[in-house]
């Protein structure tokens, strides 16, 4: 296959899905299109391939393939295919199209060689993913989706401002490493929002649990990992990212203790796991960048698997909180087993993918003698196993049997998708060379040393002991946890009260006024048909009975009204433009 941007396949597929009336064909397209991208990456791509075009004197590069972009491209395409299988039960055409488009635009970001292409796909990614939240169907989906879009529009605008500043100060359009200028910091701010860097992270735990069960699987894969990719390309070695990454790793763990909603708990662990990657990017050495890329690859798969397991529980029970679940493992044993594969992978148990990827990031910190980061990242590992490996499965599936929970049948497609993800999690853990060979730099790290295995087993084993002793206080509580979104949600209410409402009232006044004038002009525009004497009669009639009644009195379609409205609008626009231009 020739080297053309893989995003073409995915966007084309998204359009086809949106237009296709046959459900089965839509589902097939959603699975086959990402598989075609995998095939293209295997046989049609080599590091160094590029594809460019000129637009308005700018050289755009929608395809720039190198080792870093290819590793992310692989995992995004695989995740999209698995997500397509998991979403097989869905018959929502636009949600399916949004999911394929979201995966496609994420792939577009990782292969973008210039900043303009990057910004375009970045914004499209925000739009398509926001639709997945809106389509969730939960009572909170609409509000969460709107907040999600708002935050990402702010992030996109920050990114665009940085890019324009960069170009305005003589910077190149090529997407490469940034320096510590204002433009660089603005771009970093835009990327940091998508990476859910604390304290810009609350959109993630707010929105992901409100998407549909299939939508959240897609959401868990792309946005934060594209951010890791762009950080690795643009900001490798920025020391501030080590601090931010470690804070993220611990912050997610702490908030997960407080969570009752099972997918919000997993969402906090996305923040925690992305923290490892951000820290790896901050360290910036070849080993650490390898670690960030490897962990992103592993994370997309095991986090998708965890969301699939939690989503299956929600799908068959209609319940989403720890307090409302429990005691149903015997009704869905396969889901529990496959979920636990994901749990062992994220907890970095030997023979699972997280063990070979997370340790690479920590090894990167160790080689640079950043021991405080090593210790704190290990501590975050303890918290990860505590929540995703112990707390969530225990309170969701185990405990005393509950007969008050109606459990439906898990669709076979969900099981199949989980099986594929679990297979890859174990495959990478057992044979890490398959992943290491894809990494951007040559890798000599050996994860399976006796000391590393024993150390990990001791640490996680006694985390389990701690959980067992404390399980009485670890169950869910029917509360809402305040996060940093409190600031903009409260501020949003104030903005609504003091800015939006008066503005809307003003616009309504003008709207009524303009409408009134337009309708009166419409009456006049129709007047020639009745002669000039009719003008006076109509005007009088309109004054007494209203302009609409006057139009009805004429007994003709109100063509003049539309004409007058268009002319008036045009006149207003021209006047405003003149005023602004002058």
């Amino acid at each position: 296959m020739a080297s053309f941007p893989p995003v073409v396949i995915m966007i084309g597929a998204a359009v086809l899905v949106a237009l296709m009336p046959f459900s089965i064909v839509r589902k097939l397209i959603a699975v086959i299109a990402p598989l075609l991208v995998v095939v293209q990456l295997i046989w049609g791509f080599e590091a160094g391939d590029s594809w460019s075009l000129t637009w308005l004197t700018m050289k755009l590069e929608p395809l720039r393939a190198d080792a870093l972009s290819i590793v992310f491209g692989y995992v995004f395409a695989i995740a999209a295919a698995i997500g397509g299988i998991y979403a097989w039960h869905l018959n929502d055409r636009f949600q399916q199209a949004a999911a394929v488009g979201y995966a496609g635009t994420s792939i577009g970001v990782v292969f973008a060689g210039d900043l303009l292409t990057l910004v375009v796909f970045w914004e499209l990614m925000a739009l398509t993913s926001a639709y997945l939240v809106w389509a969730g169907g939960f009572p909170g989906s609409r509000g969460a989706g709107t907040r999600y879009l708002f935050v990402h529009m702010v992030g996109g605008s920050t990114l665009l401002a940085g890019v324009l500043w960069h170009l305005g100060t003589g910077g190149s359009l090529e997407f490469s490493a940034f320096d510590g200028t204002i433009a660089g910091w603005l771009v970093l701010g835009g990327f940091a929002i998508n990476a859910a860097v604390v304290p810009l992270h609350a959109w993630l735990s707010d929105a992901y649990p409100e998407a549909g069960v299939a939508g959240s699987v897609f959401l868990s894969a792309f946005t934060t990992k594209t951010a890791v990719y762009v950080l690795a390309r643009g900001f490798a070695g920025w020391e501030v990212l080590i601090f931010l990454g470690v804070i993220m790793a611990l912050y997610g763990v702490i908030f997960a203790v407080l969570e009752n909603d099972i997918r919000r708990l997993l969402a906090y662990h996305i923040i925690s796991q992305v923290g490892y990657m951000v820290a790896g990017v901050g360290i910036g050495t070849e080993i650490a960048i390898n670690g960030a890329a490897a962990h992103a690859f592993a994370h997309v798969l095991y986090k998708g698997l965890l969301f699939m397991g939690a989503g299956a529980a929600i799908y068959v029970t209609g319940r989403r909180t720890l307090t409302a679940l429990g005691g149903i493992a015997h009704r869905m044993p396969t889901v529990v087993v496959l979920y636990m594969v994901g749990a062992f992978a994220i907890s970095a148990f030997p023979l699972f993918s997280g063990f070979v990827s997370k340790s690479l990031v920590i090894y990167g910190a160790e080689k640079e003698h950043i021991y405080w980061a090593v210790a704190l990242l290990y501590l975050a590992s303890v918290g990860t196993f505590l929540h995703t490996g112990l707390k969530l499965p225990y309170f969701t599936w185990f405990g005393p049997r509950r007969d008050d929970i109606q459990v439906g049948r898990v669709p076979r497609s969900m099981i199949v998708a989980m099986f594929f993800a679990a297979f890859l999690c174990i495959g990478i853990g057992v044979y890490p060379a398959a992943l290491y060979d894809l990494l951007p730099y040559p890798n000599t790290y050996e994860p399976y040393t006796a000391d590393h295995v024993v150390r990990t087993l001791q640490m996680l084993g006694f985390t389990a002991v701690g959980f067992w002793l404390l399980r009485g206080i670890l169950g869910g509580e029917a509360t809402i946890t305040i996060d940093t979104d409190w600031f903009y949600r409260k501020a949003g209410r104030l903005v609504s009260m003091f800015v939006q409402t008066p503005l809307e009232a003003t616009f309504t006044c003008f709207d009524v006024l303009a409408g009134g004038i337009a309708r009166r002009l419409g009456v006049l525009a129709n007047a020639p048909a009745t002669g000039w004497s009719g003008v006076l009669r109509l005007t009088t009639y309109a004054r007494r009975n209203g302009p609409d009644a006057a139009l009805a009195y004429l007994g003709r379609p109100p063509v003049g009204f539309a004409l007058a409205a268009v002319l008036l609008t045009f006149a207003v626009v021209v006047l405003v433009a003149q005023a602004l231009g002058g």
């Binding site: 969730g136 939960f138 069960v213 501590l379 640490m459 002991v465 809402i480 305040i482």
Partner: protein, 98 residues
Amino acid sequence: MRMRIGPRLATALVIVIGVALSALADLYFFDYKENLFFDREYLFAGSGLLLFWVGFGFVGCVGIVVISKWVGHAFLMKHDDPYTGEHVEAEPEEASDG
């Protein structure tokens, strides 16, 4: 067909697993003294101590739970939705799938 584990088999399994774990523990302690089987990696101060990672896992787990719960109950967890004012119900409404 469900497989049933009889009491004798269960006892035998417990003994086998117990012996295996004891042997592994003995090996670990022996190796700690003699350093025969694996090259120990000393990541940071104290990490080479005997059973350091056992304590790290246990104390880390307890610390995370206790600190998080304290911070949560003191500042972050609310029984009433701060945005709508509604009381948070223990049993949520039936979820729908999108």
